[in-house]
Every structure is written in C-alpha cells, then in structure tokens.
Amino acid sequence: MSALDLPQPELNAPEPIAPDLVAEDLACRRGARVVFVGVSFRLPAGGALLLTGGNGSGKSSLLRLAAGLLAPAAGRLSWGERLVAADLAQHHARLHYVGHQDAVKPTMTPRETLTFWAALRGRRGAMAQAIENALAAFALDPVADWPCRWLSAGQRRRLALARLLVAPAALWLLDEPTSALDADGQERLERVIAAHRTNGGRVLLATHLPLAIDHAQTLVLDGFAPASDPALTLSALTL
C-alpha cells in the first residue's frame, strides 16, 4: 500500500508490535480558560477510545490536540516512544481527522471531492478503485456525480466520512461523526471502523450518541475540569 505505518498485528498477540498513541497528563488551554488537566490514556493498535462528556468539556479540544493542530499546555503526547511534537509532519501523515464540518464544496461532485483529497493525502496507485470503494461503502454511488449543493446534510456527512477510506492512515480522529447520519449511515460507519481496527488501525472518537463499537475504552472528560483552586487558576497564567 503506502509508506504509512499500517501494521497487521494479531489481536491475540501478547505484546503489540505497532506503536500506541500515549497521552500523559495532558492539559489544554484555550486563551485564558483551562479546558482540562491531567488527561492520560493509551490507545493501542486495533483499539478504540470513546470520548464522552458534556458541552464544553473539551472533547473537540482533545481531538485537535491529538491531531497536532493544538499544542498541549502541559503533558506529553507520544506515538510509541517518540513525541508527537518532535515531528508533526509525520504525525499528520499517519492520521485522518474528521471534524464538525464536512469540508464539502457546493460546486464539486463527490467523486471530484474524493479525488482531490486522495491526491492531497498522497495516494498514488489504484486511486480510482479506492474512490469507488469509498463511495460504495457509504452508499454514495447514486449521487457520485451530482454537485454537492444538491446533497442533503446526511449525505455530506457520509462524504466527509468517505474520505477516511481513500487513503490509509493508522489513526482516525472523529469528532461527532454520527451527527446528521441516519441509522443506515451509522451502521456503515460502524462497519468501516471495525474493518479499520481489524487492520490494526486506531480510532479516537468523540460522541454523544451510543455507537456499537465493541472492546472500546471510554474516557469521560467531565471529571477533568480544574477545580476552583486559586493556585491552579493563577498558574494558568504561566501555563
């Protein structure tokens, strides 16, 4: 496939041979507000981590931090032994990020959209086939050549998720992926995630709604808000 590290470990192996995504004591600050402190987790190959928590608890911030768009105010994020911050470009190359927005241009068709993103993510060979597979996986074949302005919100969301399939990546970061999706779309997403994990991929996803993802860890972010401790908040000035 590609040069991205996408290992094929056995799920029953005693020790994973692929790097884990490790977060140690992460703190996140947006402006003067401390969003969370002391978040730690370990996401192994084939694993899934669900982020839950109320509004403003920092789920999106944690995802952006994991993507390397945001730098942590404290703590470290590493891929295996190496710090993510040490080589952000490589980290970006090994992940797919699906945020709240769909990044869909009204005048382009789904097929053109996927072609653009596939080329951007460095996909070389078998591009057409990968795009067809992606469209089929999310049942977008009937609308593949319509301008995206004619698509419904749910179809645009499916298109945004179909991007996950046009180029391989070891880590998927999904922010509320099921928003606007109907039951069929949700089921397709669950299938796609399961296939990704079988291939050794990792998924970190934030969600309000229940998703059928088995053997997943859960991280509830509500408990990580800093208490009303003056010393802690003042230290936020120097964070």
Partner: protein, 264 residues
C-alpha cells in the same frame, strides 16, 4: 537574566517599586527639556522660532520608530518562547507608540505651516511616519479584532514581524517617490545643522520621551496583567465536587485502562 524578570508576579513587584521613580524622573526631564527647548535654545537663522517644534517632533519620531522595533522584538520573543509577558509588553506598547507617531505627525504639520504655508506637506519623513501610523493602527485593530484575546495577541505578533521587515522597504520606496516628485528647491523638513546648543535640548527631550514610554508601558502592562488574572479567575471557576479535586484522574475516568481495553 530575562528569565529572572520574566515571571509575571515578579514583574508586578518590580514595577510597583520602580514606577514612582520613573514617573518622577519623566516629569523632571520633561520640564527641563521643555525649558531648554523653548527658552534656552537659540532660534534658527532660517526658520526662526518655528524651529522649536523640532524639539518635540524629532524625539517623537525617534520614539515612534523605536517603539515599533520594541514591539517587533517582543513579538519575536513571544512567538518563539510563548511567554505571556512578552505578549503583554508588545500589546501595551502599541498605543503608546501610536501616540508618539501622532504627536510626530501633528508637530510636523504645525512645523510646516509657518514655513510653507500649508498644513500638510508630503515630505519624505512625514510620509514615512504617516505609513508607520497606519501600521500601528493596523496592529492595534488586529490585536483587538478577535473575540478571543489570545488569538489577537498571536496574530499581532506575526503582523509586527511582517511590519518590521517591511519598514525599511517602505522607507526606501517613500524616499524614492519623494525624490522623483519633489522639486529640488524645497527646504527639507529636517533639523538644521546641529550645534551643541541645539543638540542638548534634543537629547534631553529624547530621554524624557523614553522615560515617558517606560512609565506608560509599565502602567499598561500592570493593568493588562491584572485584567488577565481577573479573566482567568472568572473563566476557571467551575463547580466541581471536592472529592474530585483530590486526584487528577477522577473516579468517573477509571474506565480508562492503561493496560488492555475494558468491555463497554
């Protein structure tokens, strides 16, 4: 050494101690400088008494440029080290620098009136200072143009660096433009040949302006730091039960396993 003074709390203590002295020295030097400029210094044989405006105009121009360089250096430090004090220093200095630039423009205009009979003249220096004024206004507008003040501060840092790189280019292009369009006979709006009797008041006024800048900067930085503290306290007041405070990993998160996944 920078790290020693870089702590915000330490800066507050230091500035509280220095500020009264700085303010007193500013007032003293301004008084001396103005006396020297308006009373003691001789009138120019060509420009007459009007040359006395130079003693405010020229130091103001020096400060206008120096403060912009200060902002650029502070912005560079802020971008590299992300230190809050550097950011606040840059942000606080901007209105002071804009003020000096404005004084320079107004005194330049007043200076030109008795000499050329017009309120504005497109002299090379005045024009450069005018463009510098717009650079200041742009910086201030950008820093204050976001709902999130942190974003504004960071954007301002980049803009200050872009501006400082462009300053010599703008100066060069304004000089070029001026030589192309200005007839050669016009008097340059510059200082006449500097005699000692004129140099001393000039330097005293420059020193006074520098002290004024330092005083105002410290006042603004202290205000800025206090505002920041107040904002942090307000935003980070969250009603969390005290049992959670004890450990960073709350009871609710014990489902996060560091070894092996847990079944949902």
């Amino acid at each position: 050494m920078i790290n020693r003074f870089a702590n915000p709390a330490r800066f507050m203590r230091l500035s509280a101690a220095i500020l009264p002295w700085c303010a007193a020295a500013t007032v003293a030097l301004l008084a001396i400088g103005l006396y020297l400029a308006l009373v003691v210094a001789p009138p120019d044989y060509q420009q007459g008494e009007a040359v006395r405006i130079m003693y405010v105009h020229v130091p103001a121009a020096w400060l206008a440029l120096s403060v912009y360089l200060f902002i650029a250096v502070a912005s560079g430090v802020a971008l590299v080290s992300r230190h809050p004090l550097a950011e606040i220093a840059a942000r606080s200095a901007a209105p002071i620098g804009a003020g000096f630039t404005f004084i320079c423009l107004v005194t330049g205009s007043l200076w030109g009136r008795p000499i050329w009979g017009t309120w504005w003249v497109w002299d090379a220096r005045l024009t450069s200072v005018l463009v510098l004024f717009f650079l200041y206004l742009g910086y201030i507008a950008l820093v204050n143009g976001f709902d999130d003040p942190a974003r504004g501060a960071k954007a301002g840092s980049v803009l200050a660096l872009v501006g400082v790189v462009n300053l010599p280019i703008i100066k060069f292009s304004v000089d070029w433009w001026n030589t192309l369009h200005q007839p050669a006979s016009v008097l340059r709006l510059g200082a006449p040949t500097i005699a000692l009797s004129m140099l001393v008041p000039l330097l005293v006024m420059a020193a006074a302006f520098w002290l004024l800048f330092a005083t105002l900067l410290m006042v603004r930085m202290r205000t800025g730091l206090n505002e920041r503290k107040a904002l942090a306290l307000r935003l980070n007041r969250m009603p969390v039960p005290s049992s959670v405070r004890a450990e960073p990993a709350s009871p609710a998160s014990e489902s996060v396993a560091s070894a092996g996944p847990a079944l949902r």
